[in-house]
Amino acid sequence: MKIVPKVLVTKIGLDGHDRGSRVVAAHLRDAGMEVIYTPPWQAIDAVVKLALEEDVDVIGISSLATDHRIVPKLMRALKHAEVDGVAVIVGGIVPDADEALLVEAGVARVFHPGSSLDEIADYIRSIVPALRRVRSVEWNEEAGA
């Protein structure tokens, strides 16, 4: 079956400006992806639970006003919940020094203002097959642990 990427577009932290995340969500839909779009101010635990239940490929965090500072907290929460095969990308205003910290914390990529929408969609499409392989499951009862 054709792979239909599933992407969560959300905002954590305190900021509410969501023009960017709305535009990205609409573009990803137009690019043939399934987008779970939430309002801003999502709790980190809620994001982790959502990512698990929806079996998303990518978590897209929009951060325009320093909320990226708690993305490492999200990464830790994902690790704690043993979420694997899910990429976290951050889009928005991220100072250079902080970008390095985010990547170190496990963020797959940071998209700065001026990134094209197609760039984001193409990137997601390119990483999804490998993510799906990590998340694939053998349901056959004979398979060992």
């Binding site: 839909r29 399934e34 959502l50 929806e54 053998e138 349901w139 009862e141």
Partner: protein, 406 residues
């Protein structure tokens, strides 16, 4: 990650396993059939509540309130929220879940969003099997929220034990928008946003329309103000009572009630080693028809890099064989022809649908259309069988009901 086998985790209710199981089925991955078979013995406990109605009726807000009410009764609730996909791009924004934020974070709640991916009826193609996953893994109540814009969005009625149709307040216009089909399937009608002007009039109009319905079922018309919690407890009571009264698992009974032919097709398919070795699944079957599916894998590919014609032939032939044997008489193929129209690549998912063209005492002919998931017709197959007097199953096999799916 060293852990128990996936199936064991799933049946223990592990959240990630439940999600992965739903994905396997939603995406028709190999192993979906195995999974469904493994879940079969655990089905039938959950009460399935369907919620439908025109866009803007306040469905998601209502579902949000219902989730809260059910969770407060110490029950586990699973939610399947279906949104339409774009006919142009195939993509979708799945926004229902965002409106269930109040309770979505609760430990006893599981929410999954699906897009219709072009499937009609208001549901995603495998919604009923996805509901099975939630049923089998211990959810007490499964709520299915669907798109309900037109007359044809009634597939929910086949899945839900209690079907709630939601109407916003408004004068005649809103009711014109509710097509007869939707009203017919309602077990319970709800007027949402009941504090707004026009709610009482809508309530009365619905009651009038009910009187004109064909069947004389007692359908309550309730009023709710979801944002305040008004009427929610009553709605939950009515829905659960209805499900208890009609029996849980309406969708399962419907499957079991399918004709003996369908069961036979399933049994026959299950005992075909060649078909299974290729990774071909029989996904549907009945009197004189059968549908098989295959996802083209690396080992199906020929020296030119495309799908081997023999594979496509085998897929069509499998459907042909099952359709022709569905009546119980042993039928053998004596002639078959295939025409290939379009190149098929690794990764494509193919569906072969066999339908009976004619059937006599000795001969029967079938047509099989092989399509790709984007709707493209990739091959056309026709075949003739010789129908013998012998049965294709031993007598004992026809009396025990099939386990698993058809």
């Amino acid at each position: 990650m060293n852990e128990r086998p996936a199936l064991a985790r799933l049946l223990a209710g592990d959240r990630r396993a439940v999600a992965q199981a739903i994905s396997t089925i939603e995406n028709d991955e190999p192993g979906a059939a195995d999974l469904e078979r493994a879940l079969a013995p655990h089905l039938g406990r959950a009460r399935v509540i369907g919620i439908t109605g025109a866009p803007g009726a306040g469905k998601s807000t209502l579902v949000n309130a219902l989730i809260g009410e059910i969770v407060a009764r110490d029950l586990r609730v699973g939610v399947v929220a279906v949104d339409p996909s774009s006919p142009l791009t195939g993509g979708a924004v799945l926004g229902d879940r965002a409106r269930m934020n109040d309770h979505g974070a609760h430990e006893r709640v599981f929410i999954r969003s699906l897009s219709t991916r072009g499937h009609g009826g208001g549901l995603a193609r495998r919604t009923d099997r996805i509901v099975d996953v939630l049923d089998a893994t211990g959810f007490d109540v499964v709520i299915v929220e669907t798109v309900g814009a037109g007359q044809s969005e009634v597939a929910i009625a086949d899945i839900a034990d209690a079907c709630i149709v939601v109407c916003p307040p408004g004068l005649g216009d809103a009711l014109q928008a509710i097509k007869a089909g939707i009203l017919e399937i309602a077990d319970i009608l709800v007027v949402t946003k009941a504090d707004l002007p026009g709610a009482d009039a809508t309530w009365r109009d619905l009651a009038d329309m009910l009187r004109m319905r064909r069947d004389a079922r007692d359908v309550p018309v309730l009023k709710t103000i979801a944002t305040r919690g008004d009427g929610i407890a009553k709605l939950a009571d009515a829905a659960l009572a209805h499900a208890d009264e009609r029996g849980h698992g309406r969708r399962l009974r419907r499957r079991r009630d399918m004709s003996a032919h369908a069961d036979r097709v399933a049994r026959l398919a299950a005992r075909d080693p060649f078909v299974r070795s290729l990774g071909i699944d029989c996904v549907d079957g009945g009197e004189g028809h059968a549908t098989t599916r295959l996802r083209v894998a690396a080992h199906h590919v020929n020296f030119n890099g495309g799908c081997h014609g023999g594979v496509i032939f085998a897929l069509a032939d499998a459907a042909f064989g099952l359709a022709s044997n569905s009546h119980g008489a042993l039928a053998s193929g004596i002639e078959a022809h295939i025409g290939f129209h379009v190149g098929v690549q690794e990764g494509d998912a193919l569906t072969a649908r066999a339908t009976e063209i004619s059937r006599g005492n000795k001969l029967a002919t079938y047509r099989v259309d092989v399509t790709r998931d984007d709707g493209m017709l990739v091959a056309s197959f026709s075949g003739t069988v010789y129908v013998s007097a012998r049965a294709n199953e031993a007598p004992a096999a026809t009396t025990t009901p099939a386990s698993g799916r058809a």
